[in-house]
């Protein structure tokens, strides 16, 4: 499993990235917009939506803009008490 080699605190993110970006490479907290080819501003909305439904949270515009790497996403999730 991906989770064994990666440093993710939220292994579900790997599934989300596969779903939204068809990103099957190893996902780490360092993975950023530049590493994921489909991560453009439109797909970013799909990503935000997947995160919101999966973790049942509402994100703010600031948080949405803040999420440029997987580590950023994890930080946001942590703040939401997930």
């Amino acid at each position: 499993m991906i989770a064994q080699q990666s440093d993710l605190s939220y292994p579900l993110l790997a599934t989300i990235f596969e779903d939204v970006f068809q990103h099957t490479d190893l996902l780490t907290t360092a993975t950023s917009k530049d590493d994921v080819s489909r991560w453009d501003s439109l797909q970013h909305i799909a990503l935000v939506r997947a995160i919101e439904t999966t973790f049942d949270i509402d994100l703010s515009l600031d948080e949405m803009m803040e999420m440029r790497t997987v580590g950023d996403i994890e930080a946001v999730l942590q703040r939401h008490g997930i």
Binding site: L12, T15, L42, I45, A50, T54, L59
Partner: protein, 732 residues
């Protein structure tokens, strides 16, 4: 992999030494399965996939020992993880389907009927649905998996995840549909949603997007290549209000913007014949005039109503402008979630992700209704469908249909059937009973329906598939225009298997839920309504009496003479355009070219009499008025004319009406100085009956083959066909 299948992380305790391993946790759960089930504890977050079949079996054994039924959540979790469960433990349709797939007990094609029921099912649980799609994929049933995923997508987008990789090739196998998309706000998210939405309707959407905010320019300059135009409307982009303005200026600006929209829509209608789908603005959740929002001019609802009213009026006026009711589309999403402020301020995206998906689905659904047309016939069972109880066993006095429960639920359902009849549906009785069961509608005081409300009846002990075929041929209607409504799952199953063309609706078992259920049945939704719709049953009833006469008359000639038919031929007047276009959409059998002209196409003939003409014929006989039953359009080219469409409603078939109408049409053309008339027959699956129509009426063959042929009639030398059984009155 579906999101939901991933186990949620087990919270890490601070000290790893005292943290039980996953295996230990699982072991505890399995060995205490019965206790857990008893206390309704289902550890959903456990990854059941690694557990051996023997261990799973032991769970069920432990439960059986204590006579405990396994909780639904536990069965779901095991099935989703890929386990087979004892057949009696899989209790609903979705569990049974997934269990069958897990056991490898059925080939996916065998459960095709189940798949369509799953696709329609209202209470699919996302995890189970996703797993079914996933299993179908791993069995190699890509197309079934994709179809089911697409059908479930509007309510559970995650069901599409397992098929992502195969979706593109599945969509590519569907016939393409060119969509021109424009909006007042950003349309990219809607564009992404239209793919799966139209895929669910069986078409591969090719979407070209206008530039940002290009809605009005697109309306003024329609794309000739597009099969359909879609415009995404929202309030703020069209008419955001600037409170620096004086209230009267504010209001007149709003009216001006509504006018702009409405005139752009009229322009579109005059320049394009392809359909335009545009959503109305949903009722806003945040008011700008508090409790007065609906009635004060500073209120947002007030403003939204104003724009929507203009939009609906424009749609009423032009047949190819279809306003898609957003409040209807968004009915399952709380109004505060229609809009996502961060998306709006991030990228001028007017609707939330959920709302965008729902609007995309509504566009696709409307388009499907528009092209396929709503169903025309409700085939209704009696016992426990139209009334509670069984006539043959309980006797008439014990049947439930009246003021009290459960009779009032059946009464309400009959009201809905009657409502559909008023909207143009034919009601057909399909009941396994002695024929006198029809008298229940006269004798029982609680009945809303009367025997005369049924356009045809088959009340006997023959099989229903056999009966429905017979009725379809009696009414001259295709089986695909029928919806079958029956409380018996066996009858529904038999119908599904033996007459797959008929739409079989999953009638809820609870009679109380049925009246609303049928209101929500999309295939019954009208696109637009005309007077003819309200009278359709009467027209068919006249047709049935005709048949009775036909059977009693010694010869066909005698019968036809006895009918005293009158055909009134006239130019299509503006008020008849909608009806004629409706015939163009609905007529399949007696249709020479099946060109499906729209309202705008027909209206073009009225506006340009020098280019061509559109005629219609009203038919009446001694039994009644059949209304507009036949129509044709012709285009001119110098002294030549070409018949482009020629079609007739099948309720007047076999009476030489078509011959009399063709004769009148040719006379009108002769009067205009036309010398030569050409016509075409284009073969379809359904129009075999008119293959030789032109030959039989004196046209000579000038070319073509079985799939399409051309014919010509020389007005200067030939005399026009006439029928001795139809008195033609020319008002053209």
């Amino acid at each position: 992999m579906a999101l939901s299948r991933e186990p949620a992380p087990i919270n890490a305790a601070d000290d790893p030494a005292v943290r039980p391993s996953r295996e230990e946790i699982l072991e505890t759960i399995i060995s205490n399965a019965a206790e857990a089930a008893h206390r309704r504890v289902t550890p959903r977050s456990v990854d059941w996939s690694g557990v051996s079949p023997a261990r799973v079996a032991s769970i069920f054994a432990a439960l059986a020992e204590r006579s405990l039924a396994p909780p639904r959540d536990l069965v779901d979790a095991l099935l989703v993880a890929g386990h087979a469960v004892p057949t009696d433990c899989a209790r609903d349709l979705q569990q049974r389907a997934l269990n069958d797939l897990n056991r490898g007990a059925v080939a996916p094609t065998l459960i095709a009927g189940d798949l369509s029921r799953l696709a329609e099912h209202e209470h699919m649980r996302p995890e189970v649905a996703g797993a079914i799609v996933d299993r179908l994929m791993s069995l190699g049933a890509d197309d079934e998996a994709c179809s089911l995923g697409l059908a479930l997508w509007p309510s559970m987008p995650q069901a599409l995840s397992p098929v992502r990789a195969k979706l593109a090739s599945h969509l590519a196998s569907l016939s393409p549909l060119q969509i021109r998309l424009a909006g007042f706000s950003t349309t990219e998210m809607l564009a992404a949603d239209l793919g799966p939405a139209f895929g669910g309707a069986g078409r591969n959407a090719h979407i070209s997007q206008a530039e940002f905010g290009g809605a009005l320019t697109t309306l003024l300059k329609p794309d000739a290549e597009a099969d359909v135009h879609i415009v995404l409307l929202d309030f703020d982009s069209l008419a955001a209000r600037d409170w620096r303005l004086h209230p009267t200026a504010l209001h007149s600006r709003l009216v001006e913007q509504a006018d702009n929209l409405s005139s752009a829509l009229s322009t579109f209608a005059s320049r394009s014949t392809s359909p335009l789908l545009i959503n109305s603005i949903p009722i806003p959740s945040a008011p700008t005039a508090g409790l007065l929002d609906s009635r004060h001019h500073s209120g947002l609802r007030h403003a939204v109503h104003l724009i929507n009213a203009r939009l609906f009026a424009a749609s009423e006026k032009s047949g190819n402008i279809i306003a898609v009711d957003a409040d209807r589309a968004l009915v399952d999403i709380p109004s505060s979630r229609h809009h996502d402020p961060k998306l709006w301020f991030y990228g001028r995206i007017a609707y939330s992700a959920d709302a965008s998906r729902a609007i995309a689905s509504a566009f696709a659904q409307t388009w499907a209704l528009l092209t396929r047309g709503p169903a025309k016939v409700l085939a209704l069972d009696f016992d426990n469908t139209l009334w509670g109880g069984t006539y043959g066993e309980d006797g008439i006095e014990r049947l439930a249909c009246g003021e009290d429960y459960p009779g009032n639920a059946f009464q309400a359902f009959q009201q809905e059937c009657l409502r559909l009849k008023r909207q143009g549906f034919l009601l057909v009785a399909l009941s396994k009973n002695d024929p006198d069961a029809i008298t229940v509608f006269e004798r029982h005081p609680g009945m809303i329906l009367k025997p005369s409300d049924f356009a045809a009846t088959a009340i006997n002990w023959q099989s229903k598939p056999q009966n429905i075929r017979q009725i379809a041929s009696e009414l001259n209607l295709g089986l695909d225009s029928f919806i079958f409504i029956d409380d018996s799952p066996h009858e529904r199953e038999a119908m599904r298997r033996l007459v797959p063309e008929v739409a079989v609706a999953e009638l809820p078992t609870d009679p109380a839920r049925r009246p609303n259920w049928i209101r929500e049945l999309t295939r019954t939704w009208p696109i637009r309504l005309t007077d003819e719709d309200e009278r359709r049953t009467e027209m068919y009833a006249a047709e049935r009496q005709n048949r009775a006469l036909k059977n009693s008359a010694a010869s066909v000639e005698e019968y036809l003479r006895g009918l005293q038919q009158r055909l009134t031929v006239s130019h299509v007047a503006p008020e008849a355009v909608v009806r004629v276009a409706q015939m163009q959409q609905r007529t399949n059998q007696f249709n020479l070219t099946t060109r499906r002209l729209s309202d705008a196409d027909i209206a073009a003939y009225l506006d340009h009499p020098e280019r061509g003409l559109a005629l219609l014929g009203r038919v009446a006989d001694k039994f009644g008025d059949h209304g507009i039953a036949i129509t044709a359009t012709v285009s001119f080219e110098g002294s030549n004319a070409a018949i482009e469409t020629f079609l007739m409603s099948c309720r007047v078939i076999g009476r030489e009406v078509e011959k009399a109408f063709l004769g009148s049409l040719l006379l009108v053309l002769a009067q205009r100085g036309i010398a030569r008339v050409t016509a075409q027959f284009i073969s379809t699956k359904k129009n075999g009956m008119v293959r030789n129509f032109y030959r039989e009426n004196g046209f000579s063959f000038i070319g073509g083959d079985d799939s399409a042929s051309s014919w010509a009639f020389d007005l200067s030398t030939q005399s026009v066909p006439r029928s001795e059984f139809v008195a033609a009155i020319l008002e053209a």
